[in-house]
């Protein structure tokens, strides 16, 4: 693996037509600008990991799913409590930027 140190404003060129520029470094956050042809997919590492979790999620065994649904019904009451709590929270913070429902 190639490891390089770069400062804000410096860039790297990968292959033909991909330029990676470090825009800024603030604390533990590095802001990166990527210039690449449209057909080159750019995904955050977490989204690739999420794809793996999604693939795993598709293989739900029916018996396990039935058991989970039954477990959910047993916990129905606490779940409803959470919903009521969320509603109250929304009323209390009516000015919130995003309303979660």
């Amino acid at each position: 693996m190639l490891v390089l140190s770069r400062k804000a404003g410096e860039s790297l060129v990968i292959g033909d037509g991909i330029t990676v520029t470090v825009q800024s470094v603030k604390g533990d956050v590095v802001r990166i600008a990527i210039d690449a042809p449209r057909q080159v997919p750019i995904l955050r590492g977490e989204l690739v990991a999420a794809g793996e979790v999604n693939r795993e999620a598709l293989g739900a065994e029916d018996s396990a799913l039935q058991a989970l649904r039954a477990g959910g019904r047993r916990r129905k009451h606490p779940g409803q409590k959470v919903t009521r709590y969320m509603r109250r929270l929304r009323h209390a913070h009516g000015h919130r930027r995003v309303v979660y429902i």
Partner: protein
């Protein structure tokens, strides 16, 4: 109305205007752009199925993440808010993808990458949250914090 083949419910009639639109698809499944959200139970807060209307085998078990972790109200990246046209008062649905294994203690929900739905337009996206959330949060007993 439109009849679709589903993974868990057989043939289902759905109202096409209720389909969720994923411009980028789900993570790892970029080719499927429309899904129906089908609840397993009447119970609010129960398990639901995010079912592709074109590919029956593409069916994710999802749950409202605030049922899994109380107080779950994550901040979204601005780019994601822009992509979904989420403004100051836009109602938003969140769905967490569940990995179902035998035994409740082995089931997990992805709280790091929820599906965010603009409830007005039904535009949807599986996002990566900036905060410290687990991709494999256990569904068992509730824990404190994220």
């Amino acid at each position: 109305m439109k009849t679709i083949q589903t993974m868990y419910f057989g043939e289902v009639e759905i109202d096409e205007s209720s389909l969720l639109h994923f411009e980028e698809g789900m993570a790892g499944f970029a080719d499927a752009h429309t899904y129906a959200l089908l609840p397993f139970d009447e119970d609010e807060g129960g398990l639901m199925c995010l079912q592709s209307d074109e590919r029956p085998e593409l069916a994710f078990i999802v749950v409202n993440p605030s049922m899994v972790l109380s107080g779950y109200e994550p901040r979204l990246e601005e780019a994601d808010e822009r992509a979904l046209e989420i403004g100051a008062d836009t109602p938003v649905h969140l769905l967490a993808v569940v990995v179902v294994k035998s035994g409740m203690e082995n089931c997990t929900a992805n709280l790091k990458c929820p599906v965010v739905v603009n409830a007005q337009t039904l535009a949807a996206k599986q996002v990566v949250l900036p905060g410290e959330y687990s991709m494999r949060w256990p569904l068992g007993p509730q824990k404190k914090g994220a």
